[in-house]
């Protein structure tokens, strides 16, 4: 499975790839792979989904603080979770990062 990539410039790490760095304007933003592990920074349990996700509800969407970087990633989970819980990437499905508790 492909590892998650983090893009960095001017001390800012993010999983979102930009054309130029908004701070210094550089167009060569460094990228590196990060570990699959992280912790729950925050989350919500979605009871009212858009129609395309209706079959999954209720489901959790978590903002995961990735280990070894200041970047976070938005993930879907099915288990009950709380802020601070340790989690790891389970799989990437239809463009979504699915995490599970460790």
């Amino acid at each position: 499975m492909k590892k998650l990539k983090v893009y960095s410039c001017c001390g800012h790490d993010t999983v979102v790839k930009r054309v130029y760095c908004p701070s210094c304007g550089a167009n060569e933003i460094s990228e590196r792979e990060v570990e699959d592990k992280g912790s729950i920074y925050s989350f919500t349990k979605i009871h009212v989904p858009p129609s395309e996700f209706a079959h999954l509800a209720p489901y959790y969407v978590a903002l995961v603080q990735l280990d070894g970087t200041s970047a976070k990633v938005t993930a879907r989970m099915t288990e009950d979770i709380a802020i601070g819980d340790q989690v790891e990437l389970d799989k990437v499905e239809d463009g979504a990062y699915l995490y599970k508790s460790v």
């Binding site: 979102v16 920074y41 919500t44 349990k45 979605i46 009871h47 009212v48 858009p50 903002l63 938005t74």
Partner: protein, 378 residues
């Protein structure tokens, strides 16, 4: 710099369910009211704020429809889209058009019709205001979902709880009960709000703005009137939750506020009455902090003390806000100005005695756009 534009007329339909009225009917109704309130001036251009008419009513060319069906002649028109900030951005485009010298008098309108569709379909259509080419959208995040994630972290870092969000919702409902144009006039209680069914935890039904039909309109001109638009600002911000450097900040709100204060030569302490984009109760909490009315992470304390009530030191959403006045997306930014003009004229629902300076903040997406306008009674 400040603007050389003034508000001459305002119009607004009742917000709520208009089963038997079309999008066009609502749009023309609010526009006609604004033109008559302004004394039927010659209109040089039209800007219409709208978000969903294309996807949900299969209707575009709203600018041309307004000009044609009102009989304004062959004037320049445009529809402006900025998700829930469409109305505020339409006003800003009108202000800039006057400031540039191109036009003297401009009609600004905002409209949305949503109630004819199912909740899942509307939620799906509104998701167009996310970056849909992102892993975050694929994960199933929604608008209320974003503010649910934000709320849980806010609770974690402060002493706030779901009760404080309920206090925001209750205040706005109490304000709406005095506003005949508001969608909701039924009394509620903290208990009912806190026990309502969950939408995106911890946000329940009363923490989320409703689906609404409605329209609002304004006439602005370089010709002086009693209401001066002192400042108009607009900025873009992060389009994805996972890209925010601080989840508990919505930088577009803060930056649009700073720019507006600078243009007006004013600060948050000068503002007498405020309309804020409370698409969710949590959003109002963050916005009162971002706009400098209360310190960061302490908005909940102000809410607990009642400081944002209509009779408090910083009255927020005397109209009832998006939560209870209603949120017909493209009309919201224009309806905020409608309420503030009524405040400055002295005949508003929940009138703030002697209000002279007013601020409106209109948000698009989860912080993708924020427009701020500061008005002064002159």
């Amino acid at each position: 710099m400040t603007t050389n534009t003034y508000i001459h007329g305002i119009g607004m339909t009742k917000f709520g369910t208009h089963e038997d009225r079309t999008l066009k009917d609502l749009l023309l109704d609010a526009s006609r009211q604004a033109l008559e309130d302004a004394g039927r001036p010659k209109v040089d251009a039209v800007f219409v704020g709208n978000f969903l008419a294309g996807s949900m009513s299969n209707q575009e060319i709203l600018g041309a429809i307004v000009a044609n069906d009102l009989g304004l002649g062959f004037v320049p028109t445009a529809k402006v889209e900025g998700a829930c900030a469409s109305g505020g951005i339409a006003l800003r485009q009108a202000v800039l058009a006057v400031m540039s010298g191109e036009h003297d008098t401009v009609l600004v309108a905002g409209v949305e019709k949503m109630k004819h569709a199912k909740t899942a379909e509307v939620t799906q259509a509104i998701n167009a205001a996310m970056d849909t080419d992102s892993s975050e959208k694929s994960a199933g995040l929604t608008f209320p979902g974003f503010f649910g994630v934000l709320a849980n972290r806010y609770f974690h870092e402060t002493g706030a709880s779901k009760k404080h969000l309920a206090m925001v919702a209750l205040k706005n409902r109490e304000n709406a009960m005095n506003n005949p144009l508001a969608q909701f006039s039924k009394a509620t209680s903290l208990e009912e709000i806190m026990n309502a069914r969950m939408i995106t935890e911890p946000l329940g039904l009363f923490d989320c703005s409703p689906m609404t039909d409605g329209a609002a309109a304004l006439v602005i001109s370089r010709k002086p009137s009693g209401i001066h638009i002192k400042a108009s600002s607009l900025v873009s911000g992060p389009t994805q939750m996972q890209d925010a450097s601080d989840l508990l900040s919505i930088p577009a709100i803060g930056e649009s506020g700073r720019r507006a204060y600078e243009k007006a030569g004013l600060g948050p302490e000068d503002i007498d009455v405020v309309e804020i984009h409370d698409c969710f109760s949590m959003t109002e909490m963050i916005a009162i902090e971002e706009l400098g009315f209360f310190p960061r992470l302490e908005g909940w304390k102000a809410v607990e003390k009642g400081l944002t009530k209509a009779n408090g030191e910083k009255p927020v959403n005397t109209s009832g806000g998006l939560l209870s006045r209603g949120h017909p997306i493209g009309a919201t930014g224009v309806a905020q100005i409608y309420q503030l003009v009524r405040q400055l004229r002295g005949d508003a629902a929940n009138q703030v005695e002697g209000a002279r300076i007013a601020l409106a903040q209109n948000l698009g997406g989860t912080g993708s756009y924020s427009a701020v306008h500061i008005l002064e009674r002159v």
